[in-house]
Amino acid sequence: MEKEIHKRKMNLNRRHFFGAAAAGIGSIALGSLLIPDLFGKTSGSQIIDIETSGLTHFAPKAKRVIYMFQNGAPSQLESFDYKPLLRKMAGEDLPASIRMGQRLTGMTSQQDRFPLVGSYFDFKQYGQSGTFVSELFPNIAKITDEICVIKSMHTEAINHDPALTFMQTGAQVGNRPSMGAWMSYGLGSENQDLPAFSVLLSRGRGNGQGVYSKLWTNGFLDSTHQGVLFSSGEDPILYINDPKGMDKAARRRMLDKLSELNHMGYDDNGDPEVLAKIQQYELAYRMQTSVPELTDLSKEPDSIIRLYGPDCLKPGTFAANALLARKLSEAGVRFVQLYHQGWDQHDDLPNEMPLQAEDTDRASAALVMDLKQRGLLDETLVIWGGEFGRTNYCQGNFTEKNYGRDHHPRAYSIWMAGGGVKPGIVYGETDEFGYNIIKDPVHVNDFHATILHLMGIDHERLIYKHLGRRYRLTDVAGKVVRGIMA
């Protein structure tokens, strides 16, 4: 009987968090347990249906993702997309031949002019790759040979909420699962004591736009795949700390009695769900030890503190989250999602953007180098970027020294590193106005298809049927961008 229940649970109960713990070896974790073997193989790709087996479709390049989302949309024109022409033509109107009637947000649609504005900050080329980076990002500039800058991202949304939702869930509206939830569903967790999908929030000093839990939602997938928010407060995970007056030994005594009582219940009602419940309590107990240990940054060696910068010891900063992301990822968390708010520079860009850059530049570069020195970069995909770009013309009052930029969905820059991405390259190009893409466009759906591919998943086959329709992260589109693959 026990065996039968066990078997049934393996087959059916995907709704238990960290299925492996709930049923010995559950189907959720099956894929991740087998991935190490797949890594060993170099010969041809193995096609297995992920819907039924939980296995990857072909040998993955990356095992884990760390996505440093720059929320609010950092300007590509002051970071990675160098456009000297804009300085030369500063104050002149954006030619209609370039704009081609592209729609505007409600914030600039009333403007009677669209004066071009060049970057207030200087650009230089760095590394053997010769990648252009602005002076705002001196540390990222040092790692250009490790990263791949994509200058040709484009999206369909023109406002923050739909654009962010699109980047995270593959659809502008609707309650669809987030990318991390898809990964959790498709690949499971590598660490049975930690959630497969973890979320970290930080806030910069620039104009912010907020984040919302639907960005890390499980959508129609089981809520076991929901992103688990790690907070900077006393409780690294909500409700994880025992109350004062309940020490570890007391908690253990309680759980032992609880298990006794629940077993009595099971003897009476025969419901296998009771056994699963007992396991969930044991797992919760293990998390109570493993999570605080992992999130305690105070014991990090000096070399690490120097690498990420002193901010990494201040809970809730981007630097602290970057370091925590590395630790979570190293411990086997499949998908670590960071959000750093404050990149929405509609005005006062020359003053606000340096603060944002200062908060993120050093730790972003440190994370890449830290993974590298640990030999983890090859199997960890790092992503850095926002939800759309910013206009090449000024929003509001234009002066040489101060200006703002509105939302621009037609072209923006992000960068990726590790995890099977070709290092030291720049992919895609925009025109000399930085307005339209002229080479190798990468749509949001393509971006998702590529990430899934690097994780060993065919984006057309990671499917979940809900209310009669087969859903994918890439919906009905998406092409894998081969050009950025190592």
């Binding site: 049934r8 919302y212 908690r251 006794e260 009595m264």
Partner: protein, 772 residues
């Protein structure tokens, strides 16, 4: 197998619901029978699920994306000469060799085989056999079951003693088909807990338990059920599911997510259930209360249903883009919530599976597109109730809207529906894009469900309601009774409560579903009557004990040969804890409240604007309101609710997933709400100096007497904790300091702390938050 002669005849004759014997539901293959293997193949139950899932995407109702001009979803097209291959036919009834469909599905040539390899879809051998036999038998097409008007059938097993009411005749017949037998009746304790939790969402008090056990009168059961249906908490319990469907929340959603004041509409929902407004009236007022000839402030308040969608406050959005988004949300909510059809699939193209064309979508859209509204009204603090809205005056509170629990005299406005004086032209939007207008459309609904007769129905939402409530409507009643069934049994007769279309699951008890639907209409859409009927049935009253043979043959309890142990919803978990501890504030309705919540989670996610930037926790009695009154900020919903699978109210939902996770264990162990409840109950019991405090707490929390072994375990735990505190009273004080509820510090500290732990242990027992 025992089948009455009547059943055999019905099965053979009607054909329509010729058992699901052969059809197996998604994760469930044990329950197949060989009965149908020699019989007739039924299009609705055997063939359409296969064709719909594997073929209709390219050969179905969607004209834009149809391959080779072939459609297989109706007989006329399937029997016709193939448009691209003269002299060939997709299906020739009774001629397998001549039927291209057969040739293609059995072909091993990758350039010919169907479905094509690149579709990543395939047919199993059994499915191929079924299709072949169906063609050989004549390839008879039938309308989709859900679009045929329901009718009552003669009750099966008329002489069996087990059935209490008609429901049981149908469930027993199904059980017998699969060799299952009903469980014996549950204990009186279990039944009482079940009724209380199902009807009012609170556990029975010890007094209620004792009174019921002692009551041996023949109508003891009925008396309890009647009393609970009359209880004011009934409306609260019923409201929970409707609030999910109506995507009710206390904030506007989208990134700024400012405050809105729709809670008076929520109070109306509770009132409507408590007053037992029939479902037809309940729907009419919500969908068209503003258009009624005798409209008043109450009927107008009810229309807030269609304004519960999210509203953006993000500077710089394009007004029309969002206005269209709101109309879309209303249309989709109507489709999913009221009709159980996936309307949203037809926004950008014809529906790929169901007969809902893109034009149908925008004809339905027209009803909801007449509101004089804008996509954005300004910044976050501009309005808690965007126009059109209605003011609720102090006078209303004392008269027509006396169910609105408003205590202060501040101005209160709620959003309501209104139609513009002139018709707003409505167009099919290409690819669903807000400004890509194509052909103009007018009011209408999908013909395939039921024609929209403009000579009978008004050209506005009132007409929509008339159509919906027409006695011939195939869906309205079925969809509602199915959702009530799901609410009680944890699973609908149609499992996909939001999809009665081709891709939805088939009903497990089709005759029962139809009987319930027709009976519901015949008795004036009386919701309380429907619930009473269900909860007094023998089916409902079975014990939940799982026998090994049931686990082997019907692990998901599809055929109801036992009661399903269902974990309580997020709100009711909270209510049970507060009620059993004596802390619950039983006030009904009113402004939503902000109980304990972990620090900083609103502040971490805010855009930095508006009244909801940071969480300002309530105090005193507002800490102990029922779960459904907890403030829902859409972008950061209450975490303990989400962890127990509560809805984020982003859009219409008709079903909650039920998970079992370690995060739930953490909430039950460490949420201050649970800890405080354990403390307060412990203090109250300790101060009474009784010798059976553990037993009393157990009965309050688990609604039954403990078994001797359980009591021993709890007592030994209590003793061990007493001892552990003997040399550490500080810990005991610390534990007792949790929560804002005042305590009597310094008295019996050690006893209180030990009993508190014991109570906490009981709250964490698996059975506590499960219907037994």
């Amino acid at each position: 197998m025992k089948l009455s002669p009547y059943i055999k005849i019905t099965l053979m004759v009607s054909g329509l619901f010729m058992a699901i014997l052969f059809y197996s539901t998604s994760c469930h293959h044990q329950l197949t029978s060989t009965v149908a293997s020699e019989g007739m193949i039924d299009y609705n139950f055997h063939i359409r699920p296969i064709l719909s899932d594997r073929c209709f995407k390219c050969h179905g109702p969607d004209a834009q994306n149809r391959e080779a001009g072939l459609r297989l979803d109706n007989a006329e097209s399937a029997y016709a000469e193939l448009p691209e291959t003269p002299d060939a036919f997709a299906i020739i009834p009774r001629d397998l060799k001549g039927s291209e469909v057969y040739q293609r599905i059995v072909s091993t040539d990758t350039s010919l085989m169907m479905p094509p390899p690149e579709s990543r879809l395939s047919l199993t051998q059994r499915e191929k056999d079924l299709i072949s036999r169906w063609i050989a038998q004549g390839a008879e097409y039938k309308r989709h079951w859900a679009f045929i008007k329901p009718q009552k059938t003669t009750l099966p097993l008329p002489d069996d003693p087990w059935p209490y009411n008609p429901i049981d005749h149908y469930t027993l017949a199904r059980m017998e088909e699969y060799g299952l037998h009903p469980n014996p009746e549950a204990t009186k304790e279990a039944l009482l807990k079940r009724w209380y939790l199902d009807i009012i969402g609170l556990p029975p008090s010890i007094e209620a338990q004792e009174a019921f056990i002692e009551d041996t009168s023949p109508d003891a059961y009925e008396k309890v059920v009647d009393r609970l249906l009359d209880d004011r908490h009934y409306g609260e319990k019923m409201a929970i599911g409707w609030l999910d469907l109506a995507r009710y929340a206390d904030s506007h959603g989208y990134q700024d997510d400012g405050l809105r004041t729709m809670w008076p509409w929520r109070d109306w929902v509770i009132h409507a259930f408590n007053e037992n407004y029939p479902y037809d009236k309940f729907l009419t007022w919500q969908l068209a209360g503003d258009l009624l000839p005798d409209a008043n402030k109450e009927t107008l308040l009810a229309t807030g249903f269609n304004r519960n969608h999210k509203i953006t406050q993000e500077g710089g959005v394009i007004d029309e883009e969002y206005r269209i988004e709101y109309v879309t949300d209303r249309t989709n909510t109507f489709g999913k919530g009221i009709l159980a059809l996936t309307f949203e699939c037809a926004k950008c193209h014809d529906h790929k599976y169901d007969p809902i064309s893109q034009k149908d979508y925008y004809r339905t859209f027209t009803f909801f597109n007449q509101v004089p509204e804008r996509g954005i009204y300004g910044t976050i603090d501009a309005s808690f109730a965007d126009p059109p809205n209605m003011e609720i005056t102090q006078e209303d509170i004392t008269s027509i809207l006396n169910f609105v629990n408003k205590k202060d005299s501040t101005k209160l406005e709620v959003m309501v529906m209104q139609d513009s004086s002139s018709f707003r032209p409505t167009y099919v939007l290409k690819r669903g894009v807000y400004d890509a207008k194509s052909i103009p459309v007018s009011f209408g609904l999908p013909e395939s469900i039921m024609p929209y007769d403009t000579s009978r129905y008004a050209p506005n939402r009132l007409g929509l309601v008339q159509w919906l409530l027409d006695p011939n409507h195939p869906l309205t009643a079925r969809v509602y009774v199915n959702r009530v069934w799901q609410q009680i049994f944890g699973r609908g007769i149609v499992k996909t409560t939001g999809d009665f279309g081709m891709q939805g699951e088939l009903p497990t008890h089709p005759h029962l579903l139809d009987w319930l639907a027709v009976d519901f209409i015949e008795h004036g859409w009386d919701i309380k009557r429907l619930i009473k009927q269900i909860v007094l049935s023998s089916t409902y009253r079975q014990s939940a004990q799982i026998r090994k043979d049931q686990l082997a043959t019907d692990p998901d309890n599809i055929y109801l040969s036992r009661s399903t142990r269902v974990r309580l919803s997020a709100e009711v978990v909270r209510d049970l804890i507060l009620y059993s501890s004596g802390l619950l504030n039983e006030e009904v309705g009113g402004q939503s409240v902000k109980p304990y919540q972990p620090n900083g989670i609103w502040a971490a996610a805010t855009s930095g604007r508006g009244l909801l930037m940071s969480y300002i926790q309530d105090h005193r009695e507002n800490l102990y309101r029922r779960g459904l009154y907890t403030f829902i900020k859409r972008t950061v919903p209450p975490p303990s609710m989400l962890i127990f699978d509560g809805s984020n109210r982003d859009q219409c939902e008709v079903e909650r997933i039920r998970t079992n996770t370690p995060l739930q264990a953490l909430v039950m162990m460490n949420d201050p709400t649970v800890l405080e409840a354990a403390r307060v109950l412990s203090e109250r019991l300790t101060e009474q100096h009784l010798d059976n405090t553990i037993e009393i707490a157990f009965r309050k929390i688990l609604a039954r007497l403990p078994h001797p072994k359980e009591l021993l375990t709890l007592q030994s735990y209590y003793q061990s904790e007493l001892q552990s505190y003997n040399d550490n009273e500080v810990d005991a004080c610390d534990l007792l300091s949790i929560g804002e509820y005042p305590d009597n510090i310094g008295v019996n500290t050690i006893e209180k702390a030990a009993l508190m732990k014991c109570i906490l242990l009981m709250y964490n027992m698996e059975e506590t938050i499960v219907k037994i």
